[in-house]
């Protein structure tokens, strides 16, 4: 974490605000993390936690009409992504950084053959001719398990899982250095899920692609992630290496998510539901945003925002209890 040069990307104090119906929606509230080349970080958290907003902020593809503010720093290989001109950002998108979108049903253009939707990225970034790019796109489709004779079909002729694979093929086409995968396997059945994860792992091995993996599947996190960031109400509430977080889940929210006994060796797949609802992002609580749901909340938790404290080598947690077991731990400032 300390060595800035080593990091492919580092996100610092990222804030994303939307406006909707006259209200400000605080979707991301000061998220920081960094990632080295070839490593994988898993972003886990409930629906609405702000995971997709973080991803879109990195690629600078947040919806113009709804976004009120994006603040913070996103450093990618020395470039400050939030302030470089749009033209330079365009050159990075799809080439150095690409994204697999969450909803494959709507992510593809309905009036273009799928092969063309992959090929145009190749033409844009790899200086290919039309014919070359089509060849490249067909190869890419075969990589994700779609045969050539279906290449010229349109998205409506594909099943959800096949669309997901096309979305993946688009993202992988130019061998990105950073891949952001937003729940890449939710639309797939188990065997294909494994194939897709293998595909991404291979890419990582061959090209040293760094991966930001957004997922609800703890099994996937346990299997592929080097680091885990638990996101709650637009904040990272716990961060650490896979072992640290799985072996010593320290934030009450993480503990709740992982169920009573989280264990790397056990096959925990689904996040356990935590009682209560996440806070309204247009009206966040003053103190810790998890306090209203927290079984161990103290007086001090509700008063002022809680900062991050270091409890392990790379392990940090946003909790006054600092991961202490006893619920009567002293409040540290």
């Amino acid at each position: 974490m300390s060595n800035a040069e080593k990091n492919l990307i580092s996100v610092e104090d990222l804030v994303v605000e939307y406006h909707s119906g006259g209200e400000t929606i605080h979707a991301v509230n000061g998220v920081s993390f960094s990632l080295e080349k070839g490593k994988t970080i898993g972003l886990v958290g409930e629906t609405g936690a702000g995971k997709t907003s973080i991803a879109k902020a990195i690629l600078r593809i947040l919806p113009d009409h709804a976004t009120q503010a994006v603040r913070g720093k996103i450093n990618f290989k020395g470039q400050e992504l939030l302030s470089i001109p749009e033209k330079e950002m365009c050159a990075l998108r799809g080439k150095s950084i690409s994204m697999i979108f969450q909803d494959p049903m709507t992510a593809l253009n309905p009036v273009k053959p799928v092969v063309e939707q992959i090929a145009e990225g190749l033409r844009r970034h790899q200086n290919m001719s039309k014919a070359q790019s089509i060849q490249g796109a067909i190869k890419m489709l075969e990589t994700v398990g779609i045969s050539e004779d279906r290449a010229y079909e349109y998205p409506h002729q594909f099943s959800g899982g096949m669309k997901q694979r096309v979305v993946i093929a688009i993202a992988l086409a130019c061998n990105p250095e950073l891949l952001i995968a937003d729940e890449p396997t939710t639309a797939l059945d188990v065997t294909i899920q494994a194939q897709v994860m293998d595909l991404m792992k291979n890419l990582q091995k061959e090209l040293g692609t760094a991966l930001i993996l957004i997922t609800h599947d703890l099994g996937v996190v346990a299997e592929v992630c080097d680091y885990v960031a638990v996101v709650y109400a637009g904040q990272v509430v716990e961060y650490g290496s896979r072992e640290e977080v799985f072996d010593h889940p320290s934030h009450p929210y993480t503990v709740g998510l992982f169920g009573a006994l989280p264990d790397l060796s056990k096959n925990v797949h689904r996040l356990s539901p935590v009682e209560g609802l996440p806070p309204d992002p247009s009206n966040l609580p003053e103190g810790c945003s998890f306090a209203p749901r927290c079984p161990r909340a103290l007086e001090g938790c509700r008063k002022a925002p809680v900062g991050m404290s270091k409890i392990g080598d790379t392990h940090i947690v946003r909790c006054l209890l600092d991961g202490k077991e006893d619920s009567h731990g002293t409040v540290r400032d």
Binding site: K56, L59, I61, P63, H65, E86, C90, A91, L92, R93, G94, K95, S98, M99, F101, D103, T106, A107, L108, N109, P110, V111, K112, P113, Q117, E120, G121, R124, H125, Y152, E153, Y154, H156, Q157, V167, I170, A171
Partner: protein, 329 residues
């Protein structure tokens, strides 16, 4: 696809027969006697009887309808009561005028209206968008004849650049085309804007952006083809209406088109003219709608697949067809 087109063309026949029967019956029961209007108030009962017999109006309704339909089957629209000329020939003579006006009007509408809509969507809620939306609202609510008169005053009377009436050359059509288009142009611009706004915010446009495509490619290659799908229908029906003749514009600029022909026919209770014009309009409309649907299918592969699978149930052929058409690009 050919099967589908053939089917649609055949479907037009029963539609036209029904329209013919409806309009014939309606005209027969509408108050006002064509013979009375033709001969004026001073006509004697004998004269009236005589004319009535010569026009065949003394026969019972059913037999008149029967012979009208029989004539129609031979593409004979009958003769005008008042002018004695063949309605079919007159429609044919007037059609080019109406077509010229309608064709250039729809081109003008599309070429100006759609880019305005796109620009507004791209700059949504900025000043330029607001100015254009105000202008299109004006255009939408301005009566065509009023604009026509303003244009004539400026370009014909004051500046003397363009003729104010007549239809004997293409330059005669410039002012009528502008006056005829403003309303639909404004309408198309507004519809393009809202359709485009919706598409620009859709996920696949975000995907296109995430590939690093330039904003221009994102708009023109990804957003526009999708945004145009609903606009095609609007343009089609606008064109259909224009081909039906525009009475006001034709009257202001003295263009001998179909609109004035039909209105004159209505005023003088000249049944064959009214019936012939209505059947012509029904045919034109059905034809334009078919054309619209074909363009629709060309733009949207989902629709095309429906048409083809309606013609043949084989899934393989569907794929082959689409693939071939893509290869041709």
């Amino acid at each position: 696809m050919a099967r589908y087109i053939g089917k649609r063309l055949l479907q037009m026949i029963p539609i036209l027969i029904v329209v013919a029967i409806l309009i014939f019956s309606l005209m027969s029961f509408v108050p006002g006697d064509p013979v009375q209007i033709m001969l004026g108030d001073n006509a004697t009962p004998e004269q009236i009887m005589e004319t009535r017999a010569s026009l065949g109006l003394d026969k019972p309704f059913i037999s008149r309808l029967g012979s009208y339909l029989a004539d129609l089957a031979r593409l004979d629209f009958g003769k005008s009561y008042t002018q004695g000329t063949a309605v079919g020939a007159e429609l044919m003579a007037r059609f080019p005028k109406t077509l010229t006006l309608a064709f250039f009007s729809i081109i003008f509408t599309i070429v100006i209206g759609i880019p305005i809509g796109i620009q507004c969507a791209i700059n949504a809620n900025k000043l330029s968008d607001k100015v254009w939306m105000f202008l299109t609202m004006l255009g939408n609510s301005m009566p065509g004849f009023w604009l026509a008169l303003l244009l004539v005053i400026l370009f014909s009377v004051k500046l003397g650049w363009l003729p104010s009436s007549g239809d004997s050359g293409l330059n005669y059509f410039i002012l009528p085309v502008i006056a005829n288009s403003i309303g639909s142009l404004a309408d198309i611009a507004r519809q393009t804007r809202s359709s485009m706004l919706e598409v620009i915010r859709s996920d696949y446009v975000v995907t296109a952006r995430s590939k690093g495509l330039s904003e221009r490619d994102v708009i023109w290659k990804h957003a526009l083809p999708n945004a145009l799908i609903p606009i095609i229908t609007v343009c089609g029906s606008r064109f259909g209406f224009m081909l039906g003749g525009t009475v006001i514009i034709e009257s202001v600029f003295s263009i001998a088109g179909i609109g004035t022909y039909m209105v004159n026919g209505i005023n003088s209770r000249d049944y064959p003219i009214v019936q012939g014009s209505i059947i012509y309009i029904a045919f034109i409309f059905a034809f334009i709608m078919l054309l619209t649907d074909l363009i629709y299918a060309y733009v949207d592969p989902r629709i095309k697949a429906q048409y083809i699978s309606a013609g043949s149930k084989s899934k393989k052929r569907e794929r082959g067809g689409i693939r071939k058409s893509y290869g041709k690009e």
